[in-house]
């Protein structure tokens, strides 16, 4: 049973990491708690649903939905946050504006699409599963695992290996200095929004596929876990998000499997609070002056 539980934990953790990748990027670079992030997740899932219903195969629907969610993210970021960024408003203002926006967006989506849970066409991914050494893993779960690894790899390549990545890191460290050095921070912010939104969208598709439930509020339900992963992993730290996601998944599953299932949710928050108390730079992170 332990092997299966560990596998469960890793797979659950992969969904958390997948959700948190774009969140940590947006949070780390743009320095906003963007509560709308969960909505990009919802948007991606719905785009893929519509495309799949129109007969697109998953291989095409997934990137298209991710791009769609990215575009939504850029549009909303421009609409809500450019003004505040230009005015150098504090993080409270951006928190509030995204709070208001996400309230309106979920409600509008529910009014328009209805609150019902939808499912992707069942033949999108084969319903099969792999059975080995007493551990069962489905194809959808393997897909999430693979996608999670691939996206982390691509992101790290982008941030560490390109000039664009250098500009992004510069903006994350010191936005004003970056602007002085000739980086067009507004355009860069739009780009980061696009990447984060696409990641959220891709996460929405894959997680929607795995749990087979797509509905307007699905993004909201991931947000609290997203906070835990981003903070425990260290702000803007992509590897950190991956590790923290996996850790959270495994800890939750082991808590539910061997301790008490009622504590499954609380254990993540307890970890969050403990990490903030003892290692505010994140479990794997470097020191970050902004925290203390």
């Amino acid at each position: 049973m332990l092997a299966q539980q560990l596998a469960n934990g890793v797979l659950l953790g992969a969904t958390y990491a997948l959700f948190a990748l774009g969140f940590t990027l947006m949070f780390g670079v743009l320095r906003v708690i963007n509560l709308v992030y969960g909505f990009y997740f919802t948007a991606g899932a719905f785009f893929s649903l519509w495309l799949a219903q129109a007969g697109w195969p998953l291989i095409a629907a997934l990137p298209a939905a991710a791009v769609g969610a990215g575009v939504v993210a850029v549009a909303l970021d421009w609409l809500l946050l450019t003004r505040l960024r230009r005015a150098h408003a504090d993080e409270l203002a951006s928190l509030m504006v995204t709070l208001g926006a996400v309230l309106a967006l979920y409600a509008a989506a529910t009014a328009w699409l209805g609150p019902d849970i939808r499912r992707l066409p069942p033949d999108l991914v084969g319903g099969g599963a792999v059975d080995a050494i007493g551990v069962r893993v489905t194809f959808a779960q393997l897909l999430i695992l693979a996608a999670c690894g691939a996206l982390v790899g691509l992101l790290v390549l982008l941030v560490r290996g390109t000039t664009l990545g250098l500009a992004i890191r510069a903006m994350a460290e010191k936005p004003d200095a970056a602007a002085l050095m000739g980086i067009d921070t507004a355009r860069l912010a739009a780009l980061v929004s696009f990447i984060s939104g696409s990641l959220a969208g891709a996460g929405g598709v894959l997680i929607g596929l795995n749990f087979n439930a797509i509905h307007p509020y699905m993004g909201e339900q991931m947000m609290l876990r997203g906070f835990v992963v981003v903070i425990v992993g260290g702000l803007g730290d992509i590897f950190g998000a991956l590790l923290a996601g996996l850790l959270l998944g495994v800890v939750e599953v082991l808590t539910a499997g061997y301790l008490a299932s009622g504590l499954k949710e609380a254990v993540g928050f307890a970890i969050l609070v403990l990490v903030l108390w003892t290692r505010p730079a994140g479990l794997f992170g470097r020191a970050d002056a902004r925290r203390a």
């Binding site: 505040l84 509030m96 208001g100 309230l103 835990v228 928050f269 969050l272 903030l276 505010p280």
Partner: protein, 280 residues
């Protein structure tokens, strides 16, 4: 009283009560924001006040005049216990840590049978009259007004502008932070006890993440230049859903849009006025 007036009051009694309670919660948010802290533990404090007061009433049979002040004990104890390590954090980290603590408390309410689990606690006698609620609100406003005009208020404002600079001018930032957290816990605890004794029923989901951000939005919408701003913000956000009632499922949409527009175009809040202060 005229019958129609009676009916009118009865219809809006819960709204009147909510306005008062939410005003108190907004003030509980205000005291931390006024000192430059983004602590989102108000809903958690409120829950502690509500649950502890209901236990005092239902299990121990205490009279309400004793229950009300005693309802501050649990939230204040919690604030003191978690305050030390938590207050080293600032900005969004503090916000997220306090939300995390709120969720841990929610898990406790859900898993402890004596607290009713998901069924919550019901059959609470309605002992908190609107008059009492508004008296507490008025008292809180008066105290905060006086404190705001005093040297303490100046120190808080200095902390809000720049904590390091404030420290350099001799403000004991650590003690101040803990102080405002305790004040926030007292106000939220009172609000919790009053609301529990005004509606007959409390449940674990009334004090989670969503209420926490709602309370924040009260204060920010109103503006934190004076204690009146948050109360105004709370009133507006409490009334909006009722005003938009006829829009049925679109009313949350309007609610959200109002918040967005207010933040974008009224950055100092609805009530930008800052309270006058005697010269130093």
């Amino acid at each position: 009283m005229e019958a129609w007036l009676d009916d009118l009051f009865w219809t809006y009694q819960n709204l009147v009560v909510s306005l008062g309670i939410n005003g108190l919660l907004a003030l509980s948010m205000y005291v931390v924001l006024a000192a430059g802290q983004l602590s989102l533990g108000q809903a958690a404090f409120m829950g502690l006040g509500a649950y502890s007061s209901v236990l005092m009433t239902l299990a121990w049979g205490w009279p309400f005049w004793l229950v009300l002040p005693a309802s501050c004990v649990a939230p204040v104890a919690f604030a003191l216990a978690v305050g030390g390590p938590t207050l080293r954090l600032s900005g969004v980290y503090l916000a997220i840590a306090t939300i995390g603590m709120g969720e841990v408390l929610r898990a406790i309410y859900l898993n402890v049978d004596a607290l009713g689990g998901a069924l919550g606690l019901s059959g609470i006698p309605e002992q908190a009259s609107p008059l009492l609620i508004y008296a507490v609100l008025a008292a809180a406003l008066a105290v905060l007004w006086l404190v705001g005009r005093s040297g303490l208020g100046r120190a808080m404002e200095a902390m809000r502008e720049d904590a390091t600079a404030a420290e350099a001018t001799g403000v004991d930032v650590r003690r101040m932070r803990l102080g405002v957290l305790v004040a926030s816990a007292v106000l939220a605890g009172l609000a919790g006890a009053l609301s529990a004794h005004a509606t007959d029923f409390i449940g674990p989901n009334d004090y989670g993440f969503e209420p926490a951000v709602t309370i924040l939005s009260f204060a920010l919408l109103g503006g934190v230049g004076s204690p009146f701003g948050p109360v105004l913000g709370a009133s507006v956000l409490t009334l909006l859903p009722e005003v938009f009632r006829d829009f049925a499922n679109l009313r949350l949409v309007f609610n959200g849009i109002v918040i967005v527009l207010a933040v974008l175009f009224l950055p100092r809040g609805l009530l930008a006025w800052r309270m006058p202060r005697r010269a130093a």
